[in-house]
Amino acid sequence: MKRIFSRWSAQDLVVIGVFAAASKVTTLLVALAGGGMNPISLMGKNLVFTMLLVVMLCRVNRPGTLFLFTVINMIVSMLLLGASVTLLPPILISALAAELAMLAMRDSTSVGTKVLGAAVFDIVSKVGSLGLSWLFMRENPAMMLMVVPFVAIGYLGSIGGLFTGVKAVKELRHAGIIRQ
């Protein structure tokens, strides 16, 4: 256990922390600015989150990055923003699934692998949040019909985020900020 914890450099940890802050602030602001439930802001916040995720994964080329990012995000969200702890299990399972998917790829450092990781994270977390909704609303299945469109719209934003993530990485390379 100690070996897992001790192989991170301060530099990588700082990048994860900064991106966790950036993603939290941007998604919060997009959601609040658009009124939370409107489809554009729902898509926008998922798009920005996934884009930042792809860029961060390209910046910190290390297995476990996504999992750590998720843990940090959840701890701070819980303490500061009142995120529900019930979200923790599906999100952690999504992060683990994404890590395994990235590890399974032959070239674990390519942008394609990072995009795959973000895609797996997005889809599993969306399925997980539907499962969680079912747990909370199982007494009234009709309510699930209301949740599904919102999750689906959010997922469309996540798919858009994968493309913008790749575009952002290209732009960062053009600017000389990411080199691989």
Binding site: Q11, E171, H174, A175, G176, I177, R179
Partner: protein
Amino acid sequence: MIRFENVTYTYPFAEKPAVRGINFEVRPGEVVLVTGRSGCGKSTLMRLANGLCPGWFKGRLEGRVLVDGKSTLELPLKDMSRLCGTLFQDPEQQFFALGVEDELAFVHEWRGLPAEETREKVRSFARSFGIGHILGQSIHELSEGQKQKVGLASIMSQEPKALILDEPTANLDPESTVELAHRLRMLKESGMAILVVDHRLYWLEGVADRVLVMKEGEVAAQGNFGLLKDDGLRASCGLRGWHVDDARPHLPESAAPAAESSQPERGFRMEGVTFAYKGQAPIFEHASAFLAPGVTALIGDNGAGKTTLARLMTGLNKAQSGRFFFDGAEIAASDLLRRVGVVLQNADHQLHMKTVAQELEVCLELAERLEKQAAKQKAREGREDAAAQQCPAVSRPRAEQVRELLELFGLEGLAERHPQSLSGGEKQRLVIACAFAKRPRVLILDEPTSGLDGENMRRIANALRLLAEHGACVLIITHDLELMKLSCSRALRLPLTAGKNTGPAPHNADKE
């Protein structure tokens, strides 16, 4: 203490070395100043001294850099940091905590010092740096001078033998600069070896024992402070002045023309402005100010409301009461933003596009759109736009205008570069060029030359003068005494009082 022996260093992915054949030494109790044009290799020199090159940046190092007799290649960065402390240009960027006390304790907590010892260190260094009264504050509430003291106290509490300062005065007001010089003198007397990398030179007169002038990665000249008095050397290496007089007390007040003047009023006026932040005492109460065409310096102590005044003049903050006039004609506060240009401090926040040329093109397009909107509004109201006659909308091709702006700010070769890949000085010039694209009647600039070398500082001063000659009112908020001396012809001093800086009611005070 810090010794460079025939050092040549090349960054990864770079074709040629950033610095070549460097030999010098900083002995205990000595202050050495490294200066030169932007991109001359000063920062690389600093990174070599604290081990970041090649420890962090990787790359290829030839020759040896020794700190306290040990090669930086042999020492891990963690151990290097105990020998040699580094203070960045923006100390806030190296803070890990949100509170001052937590920041001072941070390093010691992670070094495993017993809690009582950490508390004692925090107390004693806060006392010696005079920051005891701000220990409970958030780092976001501090002035630049206070941030620097916190950063320096945090470094000194680790008791290093050498200290490296990266452009320490770039964000400091003249008073804090004098205080820093005094502190460096004290540290020098205590035997500390100090390496200062800076564009501003005057404040180190009597402090620096030796000066290294860099040019294109090599040491162009080395000697005592007197070396900087050579005008030829300063011109060829793009340096700032070695001695700067404080122009602030001598600048005439920015006042409106006398009541009996037959000339129509020219310039920007605000009258009876009252403003307070929510739940706080008013910063301005029935305050008035006048800006004539030309370059005016906005002078006031920290916290006097310089930035707030600039925000009120641009319409970014809404005054609780007050009126605004252009050339004697009243303008609604909601229209101010369309007529006033502002250059905020952080250039990074103001660049959005993929190339430098695109950035300028978009600004020109938006400016044209604003002008068209204004013209339409005037047409609806059946009035002619006197202002538009003074600054006629330019109908030349946009590409030509972009080229002119690039030339004016010395950015010709960078048109296809990504704006975020530019150096700090280049970005600064680009955002000012973007503000020029708006052809503003009033342009307000917040610290436009912090961190710029002499050549680029003069370039900006010239551009501002040129804009002023075309009838614009330029207001500069700056701590840069050299810029003030070069470009400002008058001053607007804070605090503003009711009736001050203002003449009688305007001749043609029709509602615009």
